[in-house]
């Protein structure tokens, strides 16, 4: 395991095919928790360990709905001042490490973590700002379905997910995040006027 710098692809939720492929040794920037969970779900389902640092707001029930296996998840909700060492320590044991940086990260610190990621065959997902990420995922627009004015309840959401990778033109996909069955799927035929679904 030591010294091998070969990066290997990780399992992904099928909806991300053609949009993004997680590779070990890389860092990804994400702006919202549902994307974090969507990225965690693939490796976690396939048996990898994941860890979440500094995110006391992380909705565990939603994570389970997205497909994250809590049996193989380590939580450090409040890492305190030493959060970078905690992230480094978790990279040693888990394949997917999610961090919500409580303070700005310098380029130097990020580079040190990256070399550790390569060495340990892990991937870092930064929920927030992070210097020099391999790809940045954002939800550009989203619209919730199922809720009317005083009736119904939230059922699913259509979200436009944008992936920016360096200077390459951004890729976009319209996906259910999640759909009515709490799965992440691509929207086959985007409906332009999105009517509320009436639910008794």
């Amino acid at each position: 395991m030591q010294g091998t710098a070969a990066s290997r692809p990780l399992e992904m939720v099928p909806a991300f095919a053609g949009l993004l492929q997680l590779k070990t040794g890389a860092t990804y920037g994400v702006d919202c928790p549902s994307l974090v969970m969507a990225l965690m779900a693939g490796p976690s389902r396939a048996g990898a360990w994941s860890a979440v640092v500094g995110a006391a707001d992380f909705g565990l029930e939603a994570a389970v709905e997205y497909g994250v296996d809590l049996e193989r998840t380590i939580l450090v909700p409040d890492p305190g001042e030493q959060w970078l060492s905690v992230v480094a320590g978790l990279i040693d044991v888990a394949t997917v490490v999610v961090v919500r940086p409580p303070a700005p990260v310098t380029e130097h610190q990020a580079a040190r973590l990256t070399s550790r990621l390569r060495q340990r065959d892990a991937v870092l997902i930064a929920w927030g700002d992070w210097p020099r990420v391999d790809a940045r995922l954002t939800v550009r627009a989203s619209s919730w379905q199922g809720l009317g004015r005083g009736y119904g309840h939230l059922v699913g959401r259509q979200a436009t997910v944008t992936v920016r990778r360096g200077t390459a033109p951004p890729r976009e996909a319209l996906m259910w995040l999640p759909d009515a069955d709490r799965q992440i799927t691509l929207v086959e035929s985007p409906l332009t006027p999105m009517h509320a679904v009436r639910v008794s």
Partner: protein, 517 residues
């Protein structure tokens, strides 16, 4: 032939000593609940008095009385639920006291045990009984009665006729005579007793004179067994129990240590021995109590549960965390490791390909725990509850999750899925107003006073137009408790920017509980 069978042969049965502690369930309850002895106490099972103390008996409480009648008879009566495990636990101490005097004690049931008479060592049967009674009184059991006779049954009957702290001794070969004078009711089988009574047999002697063959043909094997007992032919021997192995481990520091690191370091070898000793018995420890003994009166004790079982390094970690979390105010003279619950290795054995988090994960997490404190690293679980926050829980890594609410229950008032992805640890103060800026509330009947038009999910935000909303999902939490009762209602609100929120209103104050981000 008949003559030979009816005449008891003393050589066939051995001398036996039976120790009886009357009202054992009451004594066990008094010891564990630390109730004073002068109170009238009754142990209740299935709504009936199972056993009662002497003061209760003088007030007129009897075994078999209904709970209500017993309370009516004696209004001061302290009622304790019967717990067979408690009886056994308390009796274990008595057995170990008896074992100190003589090995080979056979517990018959809590409050009653039998042993061979150690008469030769103590210089006679009365002396042996006196020594045992003295030891038991020293151990705090002031009411113990001892009977010595040929055979266990006769010895038990003798014990039941002894005075407190005294003994009744039936000489060799006299058991049959002693038993023949006893009423038939001393046999334990109530059906058999009632049948024999209806046949006109009032005493054991009446029963004993019947021919063994007739008894066998008329009453079957069981009847023949009681017949043998009545004739003093009880050949049961007190098969001694194996005393439970001593599994505690103690490490002694002389001179006492003040700094944490040497303590933790010195514990390692003892922890390894502790685990090895358990393994020798085919056991693994799943809950351990760690006692840290201070130089003076201080004594720190804590229970630790392990999701699987404790290895030596796990125990050392726990000692480390305990010293960190609860630093001893005095130099430490010793650390004791007590296995609180042990399980058979066979039940806990790992599958061929391993079923639990591998050692690498545990070691890595243990490193983080020694850096941040053991509660900082958690393993997440879901549980039942109404609010999103209540539906999730984090257990400190390495501890067994306990006290979780069941998920299968209906939990009325919980919001239908999908679950919010962002569940705030502390709800934010929110504002929801109607078209004219009037506050939105919910009446006690669960009706919204006015349609929500504008909202802000956090104090710092600008007011935003409501795109869609639904609710209220009203909850009367703990409505039966006037102090803790809460009347809250939840709303799902989507703003014009597409953000979705879970808001809650209580006493016309709005809070943001979670975000669907």
């Amino acid at each position: 032939m008949t003559e030979l069978l009816t005449r008891p042969r003393s050589s066939a049965t051995s001398r036996m000593m039976v120790i009886w502690c009357p009202d054992w369930p009451v004594i066990a309850a008094m010891v564990e609940e630390s109730l004073p002895a002068h109170l009238p106490i009754a142990v209740v099972q299935h709504n009936q008095v199972f056993a009662c103390s002497a003061p209760a008996r003088t007030e007129g409480v009897r075994r078999g009385m209904r709970r209500r009648d017993a309370s009516a008879t004696c209004p001061d009566l302290v009622l304790v639920d019967h717990n067979p495990n408690r009886d056994l636990r308390a009796f274990e101490d008595i057995l170990s006291v008896v074992e100190e005097v003589s090995p080979g004690v056979a517990p018959i049931r809590p409050g009653l045990c039998a042993l061979g008479v150690p008469s030769r060592y103590y210089g006679g049967e009365p002396q042996a009984a006196a020594v045992l009674a003295e030891r038991l009184v020293q151990a705090g059991v002031w009411d113990c009665r001892i009977g010595i006779a040929d055979g266990m049954f006769a010895a038990e009957q003798a014990a039941r006729r002894a005075a407190p702290q005294d003994s009744v001794i039936i000489g060799p070969g006299e058991s049959a005579e002693f038993l023949s004078g006893l009423p038939i009711g001393v046999l334990e089988d109530t059906e058999m007793v009632s049948l024999l009574k209806r046949l006109g047999l009032r005493s054991l002697g009446d029963f004993a004179v019947l021919s063994a063959r007739d008894v066998l043909t008329r009453f079957g094997r069981e009847g023949a067994w009681y017949h043998r007992l009545a004739r003093g032919l009880d050949t049961r021997s007190a098969a001694g129990r194996t005393p439970p192995p001593e599994l505690d481990a103690y490490v002694d520091f002389t001179p006492p240590l003040e700094v944490m690191e040497p303590i933790v370091f010195s514990v390692r070898q003892t922890a390894e021995k502790f685990v090895a000793e358990l393994a020798r018995h085919g056991l693994v420890c799943t809950t351990a109590r760690i006692e840290i003994v201070g130089d003076g009166s201080w004594n720190g004790s804590r229970r630790w549960a392990h999701p699987r079982w404790f290895g030596a390094s796990d125990l050392v970690d726990r000692v480390h965390w305990q010293l960190q979390g609860d630093p001893p105010p005095q130099p430490v003279t010793g650390v004791r490791l007590v296995p609180e619950s042990v399980e058979s290795m066979a039940d806990q054995g790992e599958g061929l390909w391993g079923s639990a988090p591998d050692e690498r994960i545990n070691r890595g997490v243990a490193r983080l725990q020694s850096m941040l404190g053991h509660e900082a690293v958690q393993s997440p679980t879901l549980q039942g509850g109404r609010s999103p926050r209540a539906r999730q829980a984090g257990t400190p890594w390495g501890e067994r999750s306990a006290g979780l609410r069941r998920r299968g229950l209906p939990w009325p008032g919980s919001i239908p899925p999908p679950a919010p992805t962002c569940v705030f640890a502390e709800p934010h103060v929110a504002t929801v107003v109607g078209a004219e800026g009037q506050p939105v509330g919910v009446t006690t009947r669960g009706v919204v006073t006015t349609e929500p038009m504008l909202f802000k999910a956090q104090e710092s935000d600008e007011l935003m137009r409501v795109e869609a909303w639904a609710g209220p999902w009203p909850i009367d939490e703990l409505w039966w408790d006037p102090v803790q009762a809460r009347q809250v209602a939840r709303f799902q609100v989507v703003g014009v920017d597409g953000s979705a929120w879970l808001l809650v209103v209580e006493n016309s104050q709005w809070w943001t509980e979670a975000q669907y981000a």
